[in-house]
Symmetry: C4
Subunit: 261 residues, 4 copies
């Protein structure tokens, strides 16, 4: 479909890679974790993914220049299973493009003879937990047992969460149809739209660090998170301003909503 | 259309079958009734229906594993008219896919030389009635008379309900164009989004039991409903949590709605 | 496009016909007026128009049977210009299908060598006026002068209304591209969603009666309106019930909206 | 795509033209500025752009006649770089048509061997600033330096605004893919849906006047703005009425939203 612009930037031959997805979602838990992995592991960008179904807006970056919304796939060579890291600014907005996007990611994953998929997300709570628990669900019992072993991962998730919306959930469901094992790690976080789930991301990173032997410097991680934290507090303030802007823009475009409710 | 993935799982030769639809809707009355029928009658799954127009989310099942949203058609051999039972987790979301879905169901129904169609739904009231009445409407007077005979079915529905939204209504309207008789049974229920219309479903099941001679064990039915009830109370609690999650997810994806209203 | 099912029911040869549109809108002013015309003039149905882009619901009629939403074109032979009357339960919902619908109506209109188009609508006010004024706008000065002559039609509409949404406005704009003269008559009415603009419709009918020499029995019209009124009061009550139902249905289908706002 | 009707009205040969975009948006800052430029410079209309994806409504103009929503491209010969001015009543509503629209504008721009692009917009604040600042962002550092030189343009925009929604932002992002330099000037304004950002537009015009040597009569500009102001106050009043109308129309079409929230 011409709605999608998928650009391969580099030829790589990953060794039975594991795909880790972390797109924006509840508390941005998954995004924070995968963005940290990409920066710490110095992963290389191998794919640009862009679509006319993405939000019709641009972001201003630290250089005061604009970026179109984008999703990117990164690659990192590892001693055992190589890593594919899926990161981005946004998720596809509507139902059809969310399904289409996941199928395209699975196509790329299979072209690399991928081994398994880990999606990262958050569970929004009314209050911020002191120590967020990490729950998991999957399309297969084996992969749950593999990741639960020697970690605090909690697989009693039935009744704890409802539908898992967007790429974090769909990748699991659609992977099953292709007989690809996939697991979702979902960390507890405060379910407020402006809250950023750094603590939840840290818990997910601990599990990945152990199970995938990533050799992440966790002290550095904690320090790094402090910095991200202050940066995010600033960004949160911005987002709040933006939201107001967007609200007004929306209203001025569609004035009919103005008096409803 | 490639948006639809319809998979035939088994070859059957139903004897002038009656199709009973029970997808999610007001109070989930229809879903509760048809899910009960499928389990009690040990009906066999003959079709999987999936679409990219379905909600882009997955459900966590009792095994802590994920399921894509799906709609399924079941088959049950009966002494007289065989049964086709249409059940699922969701309804198609938008106008066009709702129409398309119904046309596809009618195609399958006609391929089996189906006899008539019964759709099941609810009428949302401000207060829960002690004994829910079951109203009916149809695309044909004869089928109303047939189902009203010897039952408490109330056909004075004009003025009681407004438009019937989704598959429960559309199947009747579109069936008429193909000269297929179709009736909707709509039971009163509490119109609160978290209320599950078990009592309404029971009233609908009583009518079906009598008219279709299903030999349902109604004592068992009552006991079963008790169990469903406590299960549903739990699920309701979950759904409430989920809703909160979803709300936040929605907000974090589309921040512009944040300040509206 | 296969989204549209347009069925010609009867072959007619209208004499330079005038098309009068009255679909649902503000106060249903246009719908009330055109439905009255069809019934009083005993106009004949010549076209059925149906689309998968229409709302995915059915209505229950006075016979307790269901009707799919539909739009119909009626024909009435007259001494001078014959009439084409466009009536229906609904308007196309989204932008693209609203434009497509109007183009299809204009195609039919031109196939009959139509003379001019009159669309009927309402202007929603915060308070119900004692005697509603009727304003007009058009795609051409001449047609305004024609209908203003010897009537109380007010053409100082600039600043009184904003954008005219839906078929009532689009038909004028798109007709201009085909060099077809078209005028909109917009009567003041109470802008409350449950209010039905019978008085506004009467003012529009008076103008049409005079200018098109329809020989409507205005005494009968007043009596008829009384009956419509009590019927509509009943229906209004129903609609209020329905709205509640629909709200719940919507919520149960899309639970994520549940906690927003 | 047949959704788009793009009509070339006149053959021109612009000399490495600069495109200035000013479509409706926050405070309508960009629209006010570009509409003023078109009128002051007596620019010639060279393109009509229309789409079925535009809002399905018409506007009533000063002659009490209707206009379909439209976007237009104007041309003005200048001593140095000629100007292309993009103005209109509306912006494309949804994601896909917003992207498609921008690509089509870039196609036209490149057919004229365009030099650079300036988009104009507003930044909505909670309070109206006495002297609105004008911020900029771009797809390239050079163009920022060019427009910042000898002006009060502020390029420290990171953290001041969030995503820039619609054509004002997308044109920059998509232009970058074609290696076209593009800058956005965003003036502070009151972020209320009914407020019209005339002061912000004036600040943007001052910068354009100086950098593009437009020889605008700024005294006249101030006087003109006074007139626009009183006109706009009137229109604002109208829009408020309209909004109410639209709200009711929306409610009467989609009654299910009526009871939500």
């Amino acid at each position: 479909m011409s709605m999608w612009k998928i650009t391969k930037l580099m030829k790589v031959k990953p060794k039975s890679p594991i795909l880790i997805e972390g797109l924006p979602g509840i508390g941005n838990v998954g995004k924070i974790a995968v963005d940290f992995l990409i920066s710490e592991l110095k992963a290389k960008k191998i794919y640009n993914i862009f679509s006319y179904t993405f939000p019709h807006s641009v972001f201003v970056n630290e250089n005061n220049l604009v970026d179109l919304p984008k999703i990117e796939l990164y690659y990192k060579k590892m001693p055992k299973n190589d890593l594919l890291l899926l990161a981005g600014d946004i998720q596809p907005v509507d139902e059809v493009s969310s399904y289409e996007f996941c199928e395209k990611i699975l196509d790329i994953f299979q072209s690399y003879k991928g081994k398994e998929i880990i999606t990262l997300g958050g569970i929004g709570l009314a209050e911020m937990p002191k120590k967020p628990r990490v729950f998991c669900t999957a399309n297969n019992k084996e992969i749950i047992n593999k990741y639960k072993k020697d970690t605090e991962l909690n697989d009693k998730i039935y009744g704890v969460v409802g539908p898992i919306i967007g790429v974090t959930g769909l990748l699991l469901g659609l992977a099953e149809k292709r007989k690809i094992k996939a697991i979702a790690l979902l960390a507890e976080t405060l379910g407020h739209p402006l809250y950023l789930g750094i603590k939840g991301a840290r818990e997910e990173l601990k599990i990945l660090n152990k199970k995938l032997n990533l050799k992440l410097n966790l002290t550095k991680l904690d320090k790094e998170i402090k910095e991200i934290e202050s940066e995010l507090i600033r960004r949160t303030r911005d987002i709040s301003t933006v939201s107001k802007q967007l609200a007004f823009k929306k209203l001025s475009k569609r004035k009919e909503t103005n008096y409803i409710g």
